[in-house]
Subunit: 219 residues, 2 copies
């Protein structure tokens, strides 16, 4: 496909695509004339990934270039490529540009409504008005825009894990005597356990990936 | 206790404590002479929270002051105080100052070793060398330094949730055909699902807190 179609299908402007090409975040197309190049599905996919890293992951261009170099490095085995690329990602990005009112946003709102309903939270005012709900909708919309899996069935295990952890976290709070102490602990534990959760998920990826794809045996 | 003892027990320098007092992040002590004040256990606790917000949560002073004002606001009920304070927190801070080699760090290393052993990951090279393991140790050490729960039994539910999610995430990857696509998707899904997970945990807190402490019935 030509640059215009790549732009149309990806939703990324031709100016931005040219910028990514200059910055070597996107491999060059197959040249078909002095001024035109042909792009394939792999360019579309790569463009989605670049958007995920830079827009959602808020990654500096230089870091994104390194991550993409690892993704491409065929001298590494799959598990090494996975591990190295993911290790370069900053942890805990907030989701996308927030209030984009597009089709992906509308789909994400419906998906999140169904999920919250399943979790028994749908009608509750503390959920409806929560900033976290908007973050969640933004994250699901970002997944949708980039063509990654984000249906209720994909989100459900995350929702269930959150319910379990929420219960355990509140159990911890009840060990504090006064309301003041409980509120203080809630704030501190929310912040301090987020890196615990994200780093354990990354370790789980490394372990599971090695188990499935890794050649090397245990040392 | 005097300022010197507050500093000694909290591990925060007297200069920093005076700065927090000036910035109204810490309530004033009870004045006992023109130049001296007396501080209580509530100051020690508050100091831990301030460190959690500013050092670990990397929160601007002005935001921390707002969060603390909510924590203190006794005109709100417990659930409102919890909800409002936690809603003001930025999502997904990385853990502390990294390479502090203190007693808390040594304890955290041992705790993490036991946890990873339980999860079946202890001897594995991809885990031992992972940056996420260092983030985890840093986060556990930060919890320990601030006197918050961070034993293996507190971390275990997080570890189990991570194992489940890791498995589901890798199942998703197997739907992609080529190794290249799998690696790209792994990178994108790692970044894009982190805000999903953190925001669902916050929603679970809101729901569980309302259930346990909230007065208001469902609208």
């Amino acid at each position: 496909m030509r640059l215009a179609e790549l732009s149309e299908r990806s939703g990324v402007s031709t100016t931005t695509i040219k910028y990514y090409l200059r910055e070597r975040l996107l491999p060059p197309g197959r040249r078909i004339s002095a001024t035109q190049a042909d792009y394939g599905e792999e360019h579309l996919r790569r463009l989605r990934l670049v958007r995920a890293l830079i827009q959602v992951g808020r990654m500096p261009i230089a870091t994104a270039r390194e991550v993409l170099a690892t993704v491409e490095d065929e001298s590494l085995d799959q598990n090494e490529r996975l591990g190295t690329a993911v290790a370069a990602l900053p942890q805990g990005a907030e989701s996308g540009d927030g209030a984009a009112q597009d089709a992906a946003d509308a789909v994400a709102r419906r998906t999140v409504d169904v999920l919250l309903d399943e979790l028994g939270w749908a009608g509750r005012s503390e959920i409806r008005t929560s900033a976290a709900r908007e973050v969640l909708i933004g994250a699901v919309a970002a997944l949708g825009r980039l063509g990654y899996p984000c249906e209720v069935r994909h989100l459900r295990p995350y929702g269930r894990a959150a319910v379990d952890l929420g219960r355990q976290d509140l159990d911890l709070l009840e060990h504090y005597d006064s309301v003041g102490e409980q509120v203080e602990a809630a704030v501190a534990l929310t912040v301090l356990y987020e890196p615990v959760l994200l780093s354990l998920r990354r370790l789980a990826h490394a372990a599971e990936s090695t188990q499935r794809f890794g050649g090397a045996t245990e040392p």
